[in-house]
C-alpha cells in the first residue's frame, strides 16, 4: 500500500507516516501544496491524504486543479482537516469526488480502516 501524505504540519505528518509505516505501508510525505499536486498527478500512490489548510497553495487549490484536469475521484483523495468545516461543506467535497472528509484530531485505527476501503474502491 502506497500512501501519499500532503500536510504542512510536521508533527502530524511525522506521526501519521510513522504509524502507517509500522503498519506496513509505504508513506511519502510532502509538506506543501504545489509539490503535493505534482505528486498526485504522478499517480504513484494508492491513497492520498490531503490536508486542506496549507499556506500558499492549499488543499482546496489542489482539489480545484485536479477537477479542471479530469476526474477527481480517480485520485483517491481523503481530506484531513482541523478547520471547523461544516457538514455541508464536507458532503459537497465528497460529492465532487473526494473519497471521504475526516476531521482532525483523527483516530489512527479509524484512519487505517478508511484508507483500506478507499484503496479497495
Amino acid at each position: 500500500m502506497k500512501i501519499l501524505l500532503i500536510d504542512d504540519n510536521h508533527n502530524i505528518s511525522d506521526m501519521i507516516s510513522q504509524y502507517m509505516r509500522l503498519k506496513g505501508c509505504d508513506c511519502m510525505v510532502v509538506d506543501n501544496g504545489k509539490d503535493g499536486l505534482g505528486q498526485i498527478l504522478a499517480k504513484n500512490h494508492d491513497v492520498a491524504l490531503l490536508d486542506l489548510a496549507m499556506p500558499e497553495f492549499s488543499g482546496y487549490d489542489i482539489i480545484e486543479s485536479l477537477e479542471k484536469d479530469g476526474n477527481l475521484k480517480e485520485h483517491k483523495i481523503i481530506v484531513l482537516t482541523a478547520y471547523s468545516i461544516t457538514e455541508a461543506k464536507m458532503k459537497e467535497l465528497e460529492k465532487r469526488g473526494v473519497y471521504l472528509c475526516v476531521k482532525k484530531p483523527v483516530q489512527l485505527n479509524e484512519l487505517a480502516k478508511v484508507i483500506q476501503s478507499c484503496a479497495a474502491s
Binding site: M15, L22, Y83
Partner: protein, 500 residues
C-alpha cells in the same frame, strides 16, 4: 347760491331790456313826454301805486329766486355735500330725490350710484376679509420689516407662534425673536439681502416669548413705496421643527446603521479569529492523541506494562477533554453571536432515539444503570439531526454523571405535543439543588464542587444545549427534585410533520 344770483341778474336784465324796448317804442311813438308826464303825475298823485309796483316786482323776483333755490340749488348742493362725504370715504349718505325733474333725476341716479358703490364696497370688504384671513391664519409666518429691522406688521400666525399678541410685536426689532446663537447670521443675511436683493432660504433658529428656540426657513422679499424706493421687506418664515426632527432622526438612523455595520464587521473578525484559534489549538492534539494511540496499540511501539498504559490513558483522556473544551468554547461563541448555521434535513425520531440507545448501552451496562427508551410515536421532523444528537448526548452525559451506580435509571424518549416534538432525558439521580436551578443555563456553571472532578463536561454543556435548541426554534427546561430525580426536556418545532 350762484345760480339764483345768475337768474336774478338775467331777469333784471330782461326787465331792463323790456323797459328799454318800451322806452324806445315810446320814443318812436313820440309818447315819451306823455309817458314821463303821466308817470310824474302818477308819482305825484298816488305814490302807493309805485310802491305797490316795486313791491310786486320784488315779490315776483323774490319768489322766483326762492323757487330756484329750493328746487334746484339746494338739492344740487345736497348732492354735492353727499359727493364730498363719499370722497371722504363715508358711504353712509342719505339721498332724498327732491326738486325739479332734472334735479330729481340727477338725485335718483346719484342714489343708484351710491348704492352701487356701497355694494362694491361690501364685496371688497368681504374679499379683503377673506384674504386678510388667509394672511393671518396662514401656516406660513409673515412679517413686514423696515430697512432698519423694525417690524411694521405681522400675521396672527407669527404672533401666536412666538407667543405674543400682534400689537406687542409691531414696532419691535426682529432681533428680539431671533435665537442668540443665530443673531449674527440673521444680521448678515439681512445686510446681504439689502445689498444684493438675493434672499435664498436660510435656516435660522428663532426664539419665542418663553425662550424656547425652534428652527425655521427664512426668506426676504422686496417692499417698495409708490416711487419704487426700497423701504423694507416682506419676510416669509416657515417653521421647520418637524422636518428638523425627521431629519435628525434620519441622520441618527444612518449613524446607527453605520454602527451596526461596524459591530457586524467586528463580530465577523472575532469569528474568524476564533476559527483560526480553534484550528491552532486543535492542531497539537492530533499528534498527542495519535502517539497515545500508537503507544496503546499492542506491540506497535514495543510492549508496555499496565502502569505505563494507564499513564498513557490519562494523557489520552485529557487530550480528549481539551479537544471537547476547544470545540465547546468555539460553539458557545458562535451561538452567542448568532453565527450558528444549521444543517436541516428530514429524519425519523424513533430511529435517532434507537441509535442513541444503542450507542450508550455499553456504558450504561458498565455503570449498571437501567437504560430505557420510551419513544412510542412514529414521528419525523425537519431539523439539524447532528445538533439534536449533540444536545441529547450532552444531557445523557449529565444524567450519567449524577445518577447513582446502583438502582440508577435513565429514561430517554420523544413525544409529540402541538406542533413540536418534546425530547426528554430523565434520571433518578441526586437532582439539582433549588438555589442553583436558576443559573443552570449560565456559562461555566457546575452543580457541585465535589462533582467537578468526576464531571467530564466543560461547564459550557448546558449553555450550548440552550443555544442549539433555541437556534433551532425550540426551548429547553428541566424539572428536578433534589435527592430524587431530574428530568430535562427540550422541544423542537416540527416544520414538516408526519405522524403514522
Amino acid at each position: 347760491m350762484r345760480i339764483g344770483l345768475q337768474i336774478a341778474i338775467v331777469l333784471t336784465s330782461f326787465a331792463y331790456i323790456v323797459a328799454a324796448i318800451g322806452y324806445v317804442l315810446l320814443v318812436q311813438l313820440n309818447k315819451v313826454d306823455t309817458l314821463t308826464a303821466e308817470i310824474e303825475k302818477l308819482i305825484k298823485n298816488s305814490p302807493q301805486v309805485i310802491y305797490l309796483d316795486i313791491f310786486i316786482f320784488i315779490a315776483v323776483t323774490g319768489s322766483l329766486i326762492f323757487f330756484i333755490i329750493h328746487f334746484i340749488t339746494n338739492p344740487v348742493r345736497k348732492l354735492r355735500d353727499a359727493a364730498d362725504k363719499i370722497v371722504r370715504g363715508d358711504l353712509d349718505v342719505k339721498i332724498d330725490p327732491k326738486g325739479t325733474d332734472e334735479v330729481r333725476d340727477l338725485a335718483i341716479s346719484f342714489k343708484a350710484m351710491v348704492n352701487a358703490l356701497r355694494k362694491d364696497e361690501e364685496i371688497e370688504s368681504v374679499a379683503v376679509a377673506k384674504y386678510k384671513n388667509f394672511y393671518d391664519r396662514s401656516p406660513v409666518l409673515y412679517l413686514t420689516i423696515s430697512l432698519d429691522g423694525f417690524i411694521g406688521d405681522c400675521n396672527k400666525s407669527y404672533a401666536e407662534r412666538m407667543g405674543y399678541m400682534v400689537e406687542e410685536v409691531i414696532g419691535t426689532h426682529y432681533n428680539k425673536y431671533t435665537a442668540p446663537k443665530d443673531l449674527q447670521t440673521m444680521t448678515n443675511f439681512f445686510e446681504t439681502w439689502k445689498q444684493t436683493g438675493i434672499s435664498k432660504n436660510i435656516e435660522i433658529w428663532l426664539k419665542t416669548k418663553d425662550g424656547t428656540t425652534f428652527p425655521a426657513l427664512v426668506s426676504l422679499s422686496k417692499l417698495n413705496d409708490e416711487k419704487g424706493n426700497l423701504v423694507g421687506c416682506t419676510t416669509i418664515i416657515k417653521d421647520i421643527s418637524e422636518i428638523y426632527e425627521s431629519r435628525k432622526k434620519l441622520e441618527n438612523d444612518v449613524i446607527m446603521e453605520l454602527q451596526v455595520a461596524e459591530i457586524k464587521k467586528m463580530e465577523k473578525l472575532k469569528d474568524e479569529f476564533a476559527s483560526m484559534m480553534t484550528h491552532e489549538l486543535k492542531t497539537p492534539l492530533t499528534p498527542i492523541m495519535g502517539h497515545c494511540e500508537m503507544l496503546k496499540e499492542p506491540a506497535l511501539l514495543g510492549e508496555l506494562n499496565q502502569t505505563q498504559l494507564d499513564s498513557i490513558d490519562k494523557i489520552y483522556q485529557n487530550a480528549q477533554r481539551l479537544e471537547r473544551l476547544i470545540g465547546d468554547a468555539m460553539l458557545a461563541q458562535r451561538l452567542e453571536i448568532g453565527q450558528m448555521s444549521f444543517d436541516k434535513q428530514k429524519f425519523e425520531v424513533p430511529k435517532l432515539m434507537s441509535e442513541v440507545h444503542n450507542d450508550y448501552s455499553q456504558v450504561m451496562k458498565e455503570k449498571q444503570i437501567k437504560f430505557v427508551n420510551s419513544t412510542q410515536e412514529n414521528l419525523s421532523i425537519w431539523s439539524d439531526k447532528n445538533r439534536v444528537r449533540q444536545v441529547i448526548d450532552n444531557l445523557i452525559q449529565n444524567a450519567i454523571d449524577f445518577t447513582p451506580k446502583n438502582d440508577g435509571i435513565i429514561e430517554i424518549g420523544a413525544k409529540s405535543e402541538d406542533s413540536k416534538v418534546i425530547f426528554y432525558i430523565k434520571d433518578n439521580g441526586i437532582g439539582i439543588p433549588k438555589e442553583v436551578q436558576p443559573i443552570m443555563f449560565k456559562k461555566f456553571y457546575q452543580v457541585d464542587a465535589s462533582h467537578r472532578r468526576r464531571h467530564t463536561g466543560t461547564g459550557l454543556g448546558l449553555v450550548i444545549c440552550k443555544g442549539i435548541v433555541e437556534g433551532l426554534g425550540g426551548a429547553i427546561w428541566f424539572e428536578s427534585e433534589p435527592g430524587k430525580s431530574t428530568s430535562f426536556y427540550f422541544s423542537i418545532p416540527v416544520e414538516v410533520f408526519w405522524k403514522n
